[in-house]
């Protein structure tokens, strides 16, 4: 296959790209949005405004947990941060002898609470916020998480191979970088695909490899299995803080947490505390584990310090990570980008948008290449029709769904049962409706209409927001509520972007047979 190496690679690229492209597109869209998941969550909970003091808020959360969950096995507290104003807490109920420990599933509200700076449960609308988009990126929805993660892993592995083989087959890709052209007419899809593929190639390589690494122990468990008969043995060896403490059944009050947080912050050169875990609260053997915030350094696995809960003495400190563990931590950190400040966060976002366009244009290219070769372009065969309609649903439908998700957050009744779930359902209802619309309408009209729909829905978000909640751009400009100003601008820019795409789609002409031959030859060499 030596002579046909490029050909076989191209063939593989075309077909696996098509099969996994829809999934990769959804992963790119939601993953890119997830770089702003905290901001999206804040926008989706407009009732929450406080930006409280970290230490005081943590102490208030402990008081709340002491009052409501005194018998819990452990408490877990995420203090507020610059990006998230609330305190998230969850707890593990006390184990009862002879009873299987309950799996953490079902309604999250059972063992978790969101608190404000005074330790009061936040009375905000029920929503998953940006967290849903983040989880969809690798857990998808309406299917078992394990299946979803394997599916996502297969797509990521394909993408990694596509990147490597792209570099090998086009060795001069970087020397020829300035040869990339934004073409005109039918070629423009090929050009859009090439330009977006090459120009952020280092980002794709990084994001794909590190993405695989985030779920590495699931995709490739054999590295650990080779040395440990049980995965737990590995995790206990590398994370000493996970060891279970013995309950003494002698009551003892907890020390205040503020001094401990200050000790830890000094130890970590001023980096903030990302989480507080209190094991066996109220018992003499209780421990307080502080972990560095993931915004403090690139490595995602923060250092931790374990203190005695009754004396405040430092019991244990996470050992210095070895080279491999540190590499893994940095890789995961690079993928999630939690360390990134505003400037870098927007560059991450732009690279993600580049990836979205790269996959989207690749999907469209599949149909563009084949349309010219159809025996009867007016009546394409079933496979072609299926792909072209799926493309519309994927490319215009998912963004329309996300806009609907934002709108549902504002429009669904606040007291509605399972409100958060219905926000998510409305995303998929809008997405599914786009697919049905795309099948029912002539192809070109379907493109124009569904892109216009997405533009309209994004454009409606600032309007609906202004009509339903008191926080909006105009008030925001006056009071310095920049989140709402930025969100409105982002929505309007998306609306303009989709509107422009709809305008281009409306003006695009299907290739005339005469021109089609020339294009066909050009595309065949691509």
């Amino acid at each position: 296959m030596k002579d046909g190496f490029r050909q076989s690679m191209a063939w593989l690229h075309t077909w696996t790209g098509l099969l996994l492209g829809w999934l990769l597109f959804a992963m790119f869209v939601t993953g890119t949005a997830a770089y702003f998941q905290e901001e999206i969550s804040r926008w989706m909970k407009p009732e929450v405004t406080a930006a409280p003091d970290r230490e005081a808020a943590t102490q208030a959360a402990i008081t709340y947990l002491h009052r409501t969950q005194p018998d819990a096995e452990s408490w877990f507290i995420s203090p507020p941060s610059a990006r998230s104003p609330t305190v998230s807490t969850f707890w593990q109920p006390r184990k009862v002898e002879g009873e299987e420990p309950r799996k953490r599933r079902g309604r999250r509200g059972d063992t978790s609470a969101t608190l404000d700076g005074q330790g009061q449960p936040v009375t905000a609308r029920e929503t998953q916020g940006g967290f849903f988009l983040y989880r969809f990126h690798f857990d998808l929805h309406y299917m078992p998480v394990y299946w979803a993660r394997y599916l996502v892993g297969v797509a990521a592995m394909f993408m990694l191979i596509a990147i490597f083989s792209g570099i090998v087959t086009h060795k001069k890709i970087f020397a020829d970088f300035f040869m990339l052209r934004f073409g005109k007419g039918q070629r423009s899809w090929l050009d859009a695909h090439n330009v977006t593929a090459v120009f952020a190639l280092p980002f794709y390589l990084m994001i794909t490899y590190t993405g695989l690494v985030t779920l590495a122990t699931m995709y490739m468990p054999w590295g650990i299995a080779a040395n440990y008969s049980k995965p737990d043995a590995f995790f206990e060896e590398v994370f000493p803080g996970r060891k279970e403490m013995e309950r003494s059944d002698i009551g003892a009050p907890l020390v205040p947490v503020r001094p401990l947080m200050e000790v830890a912050r000094q130890r970590w050169n001023g980096a903030e505390i990302g989480s507080v875990r209190i094991a066996l609260p109220g018992d003499q053997n209780s421990t307080i584990t502080l972990t560095r915030a993931s915004s403090g350094a690139i490595g995602s696995r923060g250092e931790s310090m374990v203190f005695s809960g009754t004396t405040g003495d430092l019991l244990e400190e996470s050992p210095t990570q070895g080279g491999a563990m540190a590499t893994q931590s940095v890789m995961i950190g690079l993928h999630a980008g939690r360390f990134a400040g505003w400037g870098l966060r927007w560059l991450y976002f732009l690279s993600g948008v580049g990836g979205t366009i790269m996959v989207g244009s690749g999907l469209v290219l599949w149909t563009v290449k084949r349309r010219a070769k159809l025996p009867d372009p007016a009546r394409p065969h079933f496979g072609f029709r299926l792909v072209s309609r799926m493309n519309i649903a994927a490319i215009a439908g998912l963004p329309a769904g996300i806009a609907t998700y934002f709108l549902a957050n504002r429009l669904l009744p606040l007291g509605m049962a399972e409100r958060a779930d219905w926000e998510i359902h409305s995303l998929f209802i809008a997405w599914g409706a786009t697919l049905i619309w795309a099948i029912a309408r002539p192809e070109k009209r379907a493109w124009v209409e569904s892109l216009t729909l997405a533009a309209g829905l994004f454009g409606a978000v600032p309007v609906v927001n202004a009509l339903t909640v008191p926080r909006n751009s105009i008030n925001g400009l006056r009071s310095g509520d920049w989140l709402f100003v930025a969100f409105d601008i982002a929505m309007l820019m998306l609306a303009v972007g989709f509107g422009y795409a709809a305008h281009k789609a409306a003006r695009a002409t299907t290739a005339k047979p005469r021109r089609a031959r020339a294009i066909k030859e050009e595309l065949a060499t691509a």
């Binding site: 296959m1 090998v168 590295g223 080779a226 440990y228 080279g323 084949r370 065969h381």
Partner: protein, 101 residues
């Protein structure tokens, strides 16, 4: 696909056979290589496990590309089955002699 560029049946068969070698068989081989690396890299047990796991994706991708790059499909299979059998035996031996934690 009714088009000129569509590959001939023999070509398709070769591609299908290589896809089989490049995905399931490759996963088996990569797993064995990863396990061997985890056991024998000159690092601590935990470090070697993590280092091997991190490298595994690169190994998988390189083997997959080599499979499509190779001149003859028969050779691909000989190489893949041969190395899987050989390295698998080595891993079994290593596990027999060394044991796990």
């Amino acid at each position: 696909m009714a088009s000129r560029a569509s590959p001939a049946p023999r070509y398709r068969l070769a591609v299908a056979s290589r896809v089989l070698a490049a995905i399931p068989l490759n996963y088996a081989l990569t797993s064995i290589v990863t396990a061997l690396l985890a056991r024998h890299l000159p690092l601590s047990r935990a470090e070697a496990s993590v280092a091997a796991t991190l490298t595994s994706f690169l190994i998988f991708a390189l083997i997959a590309m080599a499979i499509f790059h190779a001149r003859s499909t028969a050779k691909v299979w000989v190489w893949m089955i041969g190395s899987t059998a050989l390295l698998g035996t080595l891993l079994a031996l290593s596990l027999q002699l060394g044991g796990r934690a």
